[in-house]
Symmetry: C2
Subunit: 212 residues, 2 copies
DNA sequence: GTCTATAGAGAGATAGAC
DNA sequence: GTCTATCTCTCTATAGAC
């Protein structure tokens, strides 16, 4: 009857990784100490070095990897259930706004905070951030192409939508308001819709926003 | 004939502030030590506490304030010389891309990196970030209103444009490419132009993107 | 594999001579 | 106001008992 609590059934290595990823995302890489991660994950400090012999940088790298996979899976889940790309984008931004409110603006992008810190100081972590962002851009670009956009345009659109999301995370956290996230969601949907409309003149190009 | 070098003619207090602002922007708040700032500014460590008795947090706060004023002045200068709002936005993004290339992707937004770190950990610094962002949003919103947009729409547009800029900074730094900055500049210009077109149906609403 | 103790470096902050 | 020396604390990292 021991170790019945959910926390204890999760392997130590994963508890450490999860706690690290969460703290890095909320406070940043430099501001988070390994002792804090050990305390949060209820693991001894030595275990961190046992599972991550590369120390803090290795843990940071793996945290970026799982963070990247997490957001990618989230997007793919939403995209799979949505009827079209603009709807998927809209739902992703809505979900982001919800999460911000639920966590008092603590949980935003799992990559962004660390990414800004390490872009000019750790090539290893910078590359891990890049890989995460690129995986999201690829998924978005693929979906844009599948919707009929030429590859170059689809990639630009993916970068614009992701930048809107990242910028919205930053502004919403700083302003402690989901107003920027909502506004940016609308902008992303508009950019995607306009691109699709312009690229597929066949069918019935509805005139929107013009009444009477 | 002493103190002829430019560095030495700048007062100590300002040298410290400038060095701090630069290091905070590039590496982040937590990763930057006061000793590093002292070394970079060629000032003794004690002088930092002499001029900033509040210690690191006070220096960080003042760095955010001057960073906010710097970008605001930059925008106002560009806006003053530009014939219209879309042109001003276009030029700001172009300038950002240039700076990224010139500094090997080190110099981006003077607020963003710190802002992400402190949003959930230091209310004082979070408020300073907010004040900086708000000053930019106000300037953009005012210019949007002056161009004929209703206030609510102008504010949303300002948030979208700023989010695109911040997101582009993050992506371009991580990917070490100005491709995201260029794409986001185009998106920001389009959003502003579309909003202005939709809001001012008088005159000749040119049909764009439709040939033949 | 788990956990404790601690080394060694560096942090923020302070006291006090000049 | 300038500068040095140092205090205390915390960091990353390691050694070694269990």
């Amino acid at each position: 009857m021991s170790k019945t609590r959910a926390e204890q059934t999760v392997p130590t290595r994963e508890r450490i990784l999860h706690a690290g990823a969460e703290l890095f995302r909320r406070q940043g890489y430099a501001a988070t100490g390994l002792k804090q991660i050990a305390a949060e994950s209820k693991a001894p400090l030595g275990s961190i070095y046992h599972f991550y012999p590369g120390g803090k940088e290795q843990l940071g790298e793996e945290a970026l990897i799982v963070g990247g996979r997490f957001f990618l899976a989230l997007y793919e889940q939403i995209a799979k259930e949505a009827p079209d790309l603009p709807t998927a984008v809209d739902r992703f931004f809505s979900g982001a706004a919800e999460t911000l409110l639920e966590t008092s603006f603590a949980d935003a992008c799992p990559i962004a905070t660390v990414s800004g810190e390490v872009a000019s100081t750790s090539e290893r972590l910078r590359r891990a951030s890049e890989a995460a962002f690129e995986s999201w851009l690829e998924a978005l670009t693929d979906d844009g192409c599948a919707a009929g956009l030429p590859p170059q345009e689809a990639r630009a659109l993916a970068q614009q939508a992701l930048a809107l999301l990242e910028g919205a995370f930053l502004l919403s956290r700083s302003l402690r308001s989901v107003e920027p996230m909502d506004a940016c969601g609308r902008a992303a949907v508009k950019l995607v819709s306009d691109a699709l409309d312009a690229s597929a003149p066949e069918g019935a190009p509805d005139v929107e926003g013009r009444s009477g």
